[in-house]
Symmetry: C2
Subunit: 629 residues, 2 copies
């Protein structure tokens, strides 16, 4: 079969956006090995070229010349991951983070003034949330925005070194304006974190009075992005600088918000920014797809060591060990690709400009986004590392692109939400959802409910379940049953442990902390199941029988490799016997062998344009290589 | 307790060499973020400074001004990993690979002429083994060295692009001479791979006639090392250029060697170069130690999120999830440190200049070196990645050193032997050793032997063993029993599978390939056990009771974390019950908590001088930080 049908499936709903970016980016020339200043200049220039295509406009409000195509714009962003990841992040800062804050936290007074310039890239912005002392715990940022009723201004101030805005993309060189997150104080009372538009550079690029800008310097990767630090020394901005969609301050200093709870208000504001997290997951996926394309195509031509029977040198991808490095990673990359497509679709429906807000759906979207971002970015980091190793010394040379992919994506695991923190959020939501089912809303109450609900059934099934439900480990229904049982069982066990926190005077922090590994396991089990489901749903939608059959096998490999990775748990909980796990390993090996002949087709399905894969690593395959577009 | 006693134990037998390097390297200033040319020049300058200390001389033949202190010189090399890894590799190329080939493969005619200049660094060399087409399978290199009896010369030739010498450290800029590995052909017959001294640059640095030199350019890391490519167009060198310790060619073209078998001769030559592999393992260990020092010291001061009961922000290393990221990795780093010390000691005894060669010991040394290099470099890569993530955005900034540690050490997993290939070598030796015990020498015979030996006992024990031998998972004897049983059991199972290859007409490649994952598992189980034993032996040698007690706990954490990682296997094979593995996880968590108060002491024990750790990441701890030396 050819990869065309496969690409159609992978391109999915926003295939138009994908094709546009494929065409657009051919023109860009970017060289991450340039000195920092030159590379930054190149990336900024490319950012303006992107703005010229008007693709980034499409995610914004149609009332201001946008098209409200949120899904399309995130998909287009994701495609940049096939090209240059500094440009991807730079675009993400400008249109996703800064533009997103402006669009989603601001109101007409901000949109009228800044939205078109932001879309066009004539106003470059940055997103000043993280501080040196607070990254994950942004609710406790230290920067203050104190309202001065006398002058009708907010005073933005950095009280100490820990309050310095840090790692801010765009701050070191390009940004004229920052969306600054600070504790809003008025009439002597703090109302929590809010965002303010603060000019940080004048028209000549000089720092504004009271703003001290410094440069974070070289990083492991993404050196085309000018990360910097901002310190504010009582910088005054008009009252209207407050992005006031969810809260406002009147000229007399009165604070008002439709959302009474400070915490709920904060999380509502953050929730509108979920797009950034989803975009990072997409970018990581593209990078993993590119790395796997390079390593698999190389592995399919590289030979090493002879078969003693024939004397012929063996293609390295014919070695089982090499297949096991790359093919399960490829299968999981497929799974994450479809989970991402599903996620983008859900986001699109909720964020399009005529959508009716739905708190439940928003909450589910945020949970999915957190989980898929965490699992997806870790998967990318591990897979790219494996691809580098699978290409040996050649994989270590910059000319063969893998080093840059690895260095650039590394930080994805900790920015836009640290993965460990994100998985905890997922687990906490899972625990809350138990409670919701019986109307018990407090977190500890729901732990008790969960415990009551499952304690007996768990005890009943133990020991019997492997016998009761023995299945073919390649069978989708059986795989899903295993993944679902794991998800439910781990969550139930976690809820049982949480009961201790209910006792009067219990050390709640200590109890939660002691279960932290359990919490993370619950989240992972959940994400494993939803990713599997998203892949399975996508496979079911494929009508072409050849493509469907191939994808069904990729799904089977993804499923059985996930079960193999977690086989300790399945044996411990009597879902699999020792013989059963041997069958799991045998199935992984067999599926690797069955997919081996399709490996090239499977990576070609990503549709990464040949010019973006053009490197000496693939010179060996030149004769059989398709002509570059 | 203070870290002084601990450092004494970790410094071990070559504490003098360690102290020397600690003092010497304070003077070096190296900046990996410089442009490639400048950084290379800096590293070469530092190489000459190192030569000036005469430390590198100490590993060479006393007859030429060396001291024959092989262990000391490898330990000193390992210490460079606390500083700059490009310098470490550059030194390794000059004195380990080039100098080692000269010393160990050459004879007096080479030593007299080149050894002193090599030690002094007035002759810079490179080690031209790897080719574009052959990295792991060096026995099948394509470069030829054809003897021309008419002129008494060898003609060194690169027949095609795949035969190009590639990734050669030192080739792009500095090396005047290369130790070139090529197929020796004389009188129309090829005698396999041999090494030749080939001048590649003249006194002015211009390429010698017939030698084409190119530059590999930027790499993921190690950019202070000038890796390049060499192509030889019928380059003539005198007959004496052959490094003739193990084989020679007479003026009439007659080939002679004490070692009749071409393959055995080849592996004997390679065996003398084991020092390089051992050195890489040591360098990886130092890098992991430095990364853990940075991440643990940061984690012990960084605070994030509040304890709801007290309102106080929690130190991140007090979170269980953070402890689980760093403390088991630290425990295993300790284990590998002592395994490395043991390995260096063994090498020293066999390679010192008055040692009596012992083939059995040499073989054991090579197997250990291969296994510890593979497991140690993977551990370093994973641990440094984890440390980077544990430091969040700060860990991504070059100023905080983690990016460079990660980028530099990445290639350690695939150079000086690809880890996957090395583990296969280990497994093959393990299989052969079975056979040796009953005098059956061929590889398949021994598989049958192993199968006969254990098939019954395995069957007998299954199911009963967990009950028979239930133990405290923190107990050293019990841990060792588990690790040993795993090692034996996996090897026995592997041997049983290999029986199929005995059948007449069996597809031997297919059978071995199908068992490749099993082979790798057998090797890992073996290395896990020998690393554990080396750590345990070292702990037993510690007389100070406080230090001994602390190290005993670090050993316990290393042991139980290894068992946890492999718990699927232990449950599958009925060594542990489901309850047993819960106890394993509980023990990992408990030991993390117990070692938490000692975390700072444990990293201080490495004795990394403060100036080499001086970075903004640790600014937060400034007040309590010891005064830099």
């Amino acid at each position: 079969m050819t990869s065309t049908a496969l690409q159609q499936v992978l391109d999915g709903r926003w295939s138009g956006a994908r094709e546009e970016v494929r065409a657009q980016l051919g023109a860009l020339k970017l060289d991450p090995d340039l000195p920092t200043d030159d590379y930054r200049a190149q990336v900024t220039e490319a950012l303006h070229q992107l703005a010229g295509t008007r693709r980034p406009h499409q995610g914004f409000d149609p009332a201001y010349g946008g098209e409200g195509d949120v899904g399309g714009v995130v998909t287009a962003f994701e495609m940049l991951g096939y090209g240059d990841l500094s440009l991807l992040v730079k675009a993400g800062v400008q249109w996703g983070l800064f533009g997103g804050a402006l669009q989603n936290l601001g109101t007409a007074r901000h949109h009228d003034r800044y939205l078109r310039d932001t879309m066009d890239g004539t106003l470059l912005g940055c997103f000043a949330m993280t501080e040196t002392g607070h990254g994950s715990d942004v609710q406790h940022l230290l920067t203050t925005a104190t309202f001065d009723v006398a002058t009708d201004e907010f005073v933005i101030h950095t009280p100490n070194r820990a309050a310095r805005k840090d790692y801010i993309g765009g701050a070191a060189r390009d940004a004229r304006m920052a969306a600054v997150f600070a504790q809003l104080v008025t009439e002597g009372t703090s109302h929590g974190v809010h965002a303010f538009l603060v000019p940080i550079r004048d028209a000549d690029g000089a720092a504004m009075p009271g703003v001290t800008i410094s440069d974070c310097g070289r990083k492991a990767g993404l050196n085309g992005v000018d990360n910097g630090r901002l310190v504010f020394d009582s910088v005054r901005v008009p009252r209207e600088a407050l992005l006031n969609r969810f809260a406002d301050v009147a000229p007399d200093g009165t604070y008002s918000s439709e959302i009474a709870s400070e915490s709920r208000r904060f999380f509502t504001m953050l929730g509108t920014l979920v797009r950034g997290r989803i975009s990072v997951a997409g970018g990581a996926g593209s990078a993993a797809e590119k790395a796997l394309t390079l390593a698999i195509r190389y592995g399919a031509t590289r030979r090493q060591f002879s078969d003693p029977a024939t004397g012929e040198e063996v293609v390295v991808l014919d070695y089982l060990a090499h297949q096991r490095k790359l093919l399960p990673a490829l299968a999981t990359t497929y799974a994450l690709h479809f989970a991402q497509e599903d996620l983008v679709g859900r986001m699109h429906e909720q964020q399009k400009f005529d959508a009716v807000p739905d708190e439940g759906l928003q909450r589910e979207l945020e949970t999915r986004a957190a989980g898929i971002k965490a699992i997806g970015t870790w998967h990318a980091t591990h897979s790219i590392q494996t691809c580098r190793e699978a290409c040996g010394g050649a994989g270590y040379l910059s000319e063969n692109m893998l080093p840059q992919l690895k260095a650039d994506t590394d930080v994805f695991t900790t920015f836009e939400g640290d993965n460990t923190v994100l998985l905890q959020l997922v687990a906490k939501t899972l625990l809350s959802d138990y409670a919701r089912r019986v109307g018990r809303l407090d977190m500890l109450g729901k732990a008790r409910f969960a415990a009551d609900l499952v304690a007996d059934t768990v005890a009943e099934r133990t020991g019997a379940r492997a016998v009761l439900r023995r299945g073919d480990v390649r069978d989708r229904t059986y795989q899903r049953w295993l993944l679902t049982e794991r998800e439910d069982h781990i969550l139930a066990g976690l809820a049982r442990r949480m009961r201790a926190a209910l006792a009067p005077g219990a050390d709640q922090f200590g109890i939660f902390n002691a279960a932290q590994d359990h919490l993370l396991e619950a989240a992972r089990a959940h994400v494993d199941r939803i990713v599997f489901d998203a892949f399975a749903t996508a496979v079911d939608g494929v009508t072409d029988p050849t493509t469907n059959a191939l994808l069904e096998r990729v799904l089977a490999l993804h499923g059985v490799a996930t079960i193999e990775r977690e086989r300790a748990w399945f044996v411990e909980h009597a879902y699999l016997t020792a013989t059963g796990t041997k069958a799991v390993t045998a199935a992984v090996n067999a599926l690797c062998g069955e997919l081996r002949p399709h490996a090239r087709t499977l990576v070609d399905g990503f549709g990464i344009p040949e010019p973006w894969l053009d490197c000496p690593l693939l010179d060996g395959e030149q004769p059989s290589r398709p002509t570059p577009a």
